[in-house]
């Protein structure tokens, strides 16, 4: 017996969903929303609290260098917080106003942005931190001998840059395994959508 397209449609539409625990899902989502709200509030409090703590306990009034160091740290922290915030908050899932193609474009852009943050911006952040801490140490270590000071500055700089470099490499390797194939697939889909 021939199966025409109407038969196929009927066959397709005969499939029904299983029993799904919708109540459980809604309860879980509500709990997650509360948790996420708490986390956002924590981040919003921790960044300024750290800066306030540093400004209270560091002798920035006594030295312009320490003040400069604190300002660099503040700028770096706010910049990184803003970067993280902007990469997450993008309305990439606002499917009400985006067509499929636009959605794919935004998803791709979002994934590329993650690579840029890890590969470029985090190095700049590491350099800023190293500069800021070296300025502060330059003042704080003044009573010590020249040789010890140089050793501490070099050690501190290498430690910060080394730690950040290995963390970034590890993250990029992870991205290569997870994000890259996904980006290639999305690029393929986008190309299909354009053709």
């Amino acid at each position: 017996m021939q199966t025409n397209f109407n038969d196929i449609q009927q066959l397709w539409q005969s499939q029904k969903t299983d029993d799904f625990d919708l109540r459980g899902l809604i309860d879980g989502l509500k709990k997650t929303e509360i948790k996420q709200r708490r986390e956002k509030i924590s981040i919003a409090i921790i960044t300024p609290a750290t800066l306030i703590f540093l400004f209270i306990f560091m002798p920035w009034q006594e030295s312009k260098a320490i003040l400069l160091s604190l300002l660099v740290i503040a700028v770096a922290m706010i910049w990184v917080a803003w970067l993280s915030f902007s990469s997450v908050v993008k309305p990439s899932d606002d499917s009400d106003s985006f067509s499929n193609r636009e959605y794919l474009k935004i998803q791709l852009e979002k994934l590329r942005q993650r690579y840029t943050i890890a590969g470029k911006h985090m190095y700049f952040y590491a350099v800023l931190l190293a500069v800021a801490l070296n300025i502060a140490y330059f003042v704080l270590l003044a009573p010590l001998s020249g040789g010890i000071r140089i050793a501490i500055h070099v050690g501190l700089t290498l430690m910060i840059l080394g730690f950040m470099h290995f963390s970034i490499r590890r993250r990029i390797r992870k991205y290569d395994k997870t994000l890259k194939p996904m980006m290639e697939q999305l690029e393929k889909l986008l190309l299909d959508a354009k053709n």
């Binding site: 397209f5 066959l11 499939q15 969903t17 809604i26 899932d93 009400d96 499929n100 193609r101 697939q185």
Partner: protein, 170 residues
Amino acid sequence: MKSTKELQFEALYQSHKDKVYRLCLGFAREKELANDLFQEILIKIWRHLDSFKGESDISTWIYRIAYNTALTFSAREKKKEEKKTEIPANLDLSEPENYNSEQEIRIQMLYEAINELPELDRVIATLLLENTAYKAIAEISGISENYVSVKVNRIKAALTQKLNPQPHAN
């Protein structure tokens, strides 16, 4: 007491659950994965329900979320398994009333045929199987209505041929 959002979400769930679930079966190789995708879509609908502006029909909005999520899901799953996408022989599909083994085989063939299509064609195929208008298909998939009609002919032919394995079947 349930909030307005919960009531609205439950109503949308009741009116769209089967269509969305069928879409999931069209994109996932296993039932477990289809359930994961189904849940992911429901979560997105819940999260974005407050931002629904009413600029489009609520069904179109839901399908956009569903299809966009399915495409991303599909890309993610491909990365996990680079194997050829296929429906396993023991796929336990949901069972409607008066279900029989012949119908099971035909449904399996249909899912195999859908799975063999490229992702965007799969989107169009599943919408078409839900009797969605070409205009809505174009709106959801982001391609022109004319191009939809070209693709529809190819998809119809591919699916019909798959379910009628004889040569030159219609």
